[in-house]
């Protein structure tokens, strides 16, 4: 069991062992080859990170700022718009990521069956949304989900709803629309990861389970899910980072407002507004952006912990 467990893993593995005998030419080449990347990373990543950490303790508007200590963090806790953005982002994350991961797992599992017909067709179709740019699909969804639009018409035709849903005007439905849109765009993407990982699972395990008359659902929860744990962890963390940075879709679906009445405002959109829309307060927006970093860190740690904790004793 322990052996096959690692076979299902596609999580990146790399070696940190370093051979000690590099010639002089190799040592020089080693530095020269990575120098351009390191210099660029230093300028466009390390420096901004340090700058932003320093800015996050500065207060003031525009280019006039002074040291504020904890002032920005205190302001965070009292800022209703920020708390709104934070709770919206958390709702998107808590509702959307599990739905998407679950759907992606179900589709991948269904498509992993070699006896299924039209597999390639289904796979391509479900994956196709990943090809669209975030802007193109936000625009599409905006027109499809107009009050008299094709989605409401379709739902009325199927007698699922009697009155059109005000997708973009109602705070609740606006959130639902954003969740539908992201799920549409990313489910196939996650599915491909699971399909790739499923190919690596030893078929004989399923055969053995089938001989022991383990029902399909139990095979899914007791074999597939545990075997895919490393990939699920990986995709969950990636989706977490993506959802916490949600910007393009909301900005486009709501004309940059995060409306109606801030109901779809995300942290990234709020940072954008603080910096580029209002009188810029760089210090405060830097503090807000570090909230995302901290949340990503905490959530990743929790996800690692859960994945490790439930691993069957090997």
């Amino acid at each position: 069991m322990a052996q096959t467990q690692t076979e299902g893993a596609v999580a990146p593995r790399w070696r940190f062992a370093a051979p000690s005998h590099l010639g002089r030419g190799e040592r020089i080449s080693g530095w020269l080859f990575i120098a351009p990347a390191l210099i660029l990373l230093g300028i466009f990543m390390i420096y901004p990170i340090i700058w932003s950490l320093w800015m996050s303790v500065q207060v003031g508007k525009g280019m006039n700022f002074s040291f504020g200590g904890w002032a920005n963090i205190i302001r965070l806790t009292k800022d209703p718009v920020f708390l709104r953005a934070l709770s919206n982002t958390c709702i998107f994350f808590v509702v959307q990521v599990p739905i998407m991961i679950f759907l992606a797992l179900v589709f991948a599992n269904a498509l992993n069956d070699n006896t299924l017909r039209f597999r390639a067709l289904f796979r391509t179709a479900i994956f196709l949304p990943c090809v669209t740019s975030l802007i193109a699909y936000s625009t599409l969804f905006k027109s499809m989900f107009a009050t008299d639009g094709v989605v409401n018409k379709g739902l009325q035709l199927l007698h699922i709803i009697s009155d059109p849903i005000p997708w973009l005007q109602d705070p609740f439905w606006a959130k639902v629309l954003i969740i539908i849109a992201i799920t549409w765009r990313w489910t196939g993407y996650n599915m491909v990861f699971y399909l790739a990982a499923l190919q690596n699972i030893d078929r004989s395990i399923y055969e053995a389970a089938r001989i022991d008359v383990v029902p399909a659902w139990a095979r899914f929860t007791n074999i597939t899910i545990p075997m895919l744990k490393p990939v699920i962890l990986f995709t969950t963390i990636i989706s977490t980072i993506g959802t916490l940075q949600l910007f393009d879709e909301v900005y486009n679906l709501t004309n940059g407002t995060g409306g109606p009445s801030d109901s779809t405002l995300t942290i990234a959109l709020y940072i954008y507004n603080l910096t580029f829309k209002f009188m810029p307060s760089f210090g405060y927006s830097a503090t807000v952006s570090w909230v995302i970093v901290v949340i990503v860190g905490i959530l990743s740690a929790i996800q690692f912990f859960i994945a490790r904790d439930r691993r069957p004793s090997a």
Binding site: F33, L41, P48, T132, S143, G149, A286
Partner: protein
Amino acid sequence: MNPAFLVRRGIVYVLLSVAAFLSVFPFYWMIVGATNKSADIVIGKPTPGLNLFANIATFFSTVDVPRVFFNSTLIAVLGTVLTLAVSSLAGYAFEMFRSRFREHIFAFMLLLLSIPFSALMVPLFVMIASAHITNTFLAVILPSIASIFIIFYFRQATKAFPSELRDAARVDGLKEWQIFLYIYMPVMRSTYAAATIIVFLANWNNYLWPLIVLSTPENKTVTLVVSALTSAYTPDYGMILFGTVLATLPTLIIFFVLQRQFVEGLTGSVK
């Protein structure tokens, strides 16, 4: 065939068909919408109309199409070439010339992967502004050239590069940069193909950073222009959907031509 199996099979087919329909429908809608009047699109007319040429005419008269496509293409191509050059070189070197210190740098870089762009965009913008290069393509491209993800991707791929090839080249007296240029790059062309797709799409579809940096109309990219059209008070959806068809076309073509590398490339990719 036992009945329980058939029922289960049936459910799977229905489920996958519904999912496939929902996935593809917006594409159908986009193409059909490009042939309809805005008024028809807003009331959900799902059949093709006769307004395609009017939509094309409106789009071309509202948007400087050649200019905007030239901008997007230039940014995407330049960005891709530079990113691949810098990042593949680094990925190769991290794997080929391992040293303890460089391993520490590599581990540190992986940590940086988890820092979201929104945490960097404010300082980046201030830097770009103080260097007086706002509203230039350089400002759009520069911050993404050293891509930690692509460096990581190339390092992983380099593990499959046969070291005998390198040793043979050394015996033949090739210098390290010649080995990279004349041996490694041709041998690893499928890795380059997959990476090209990832980086090109990321550049082509990029939105937030160009939105911040590019300010004048003659420098806007396709995504920026299409997005701006939708925020009009009464958006002309016929024209806009034609615009999204145009904006999506390059990625759709790349997808169908290079489907295999595309999927392989993405599974090694980060959102």
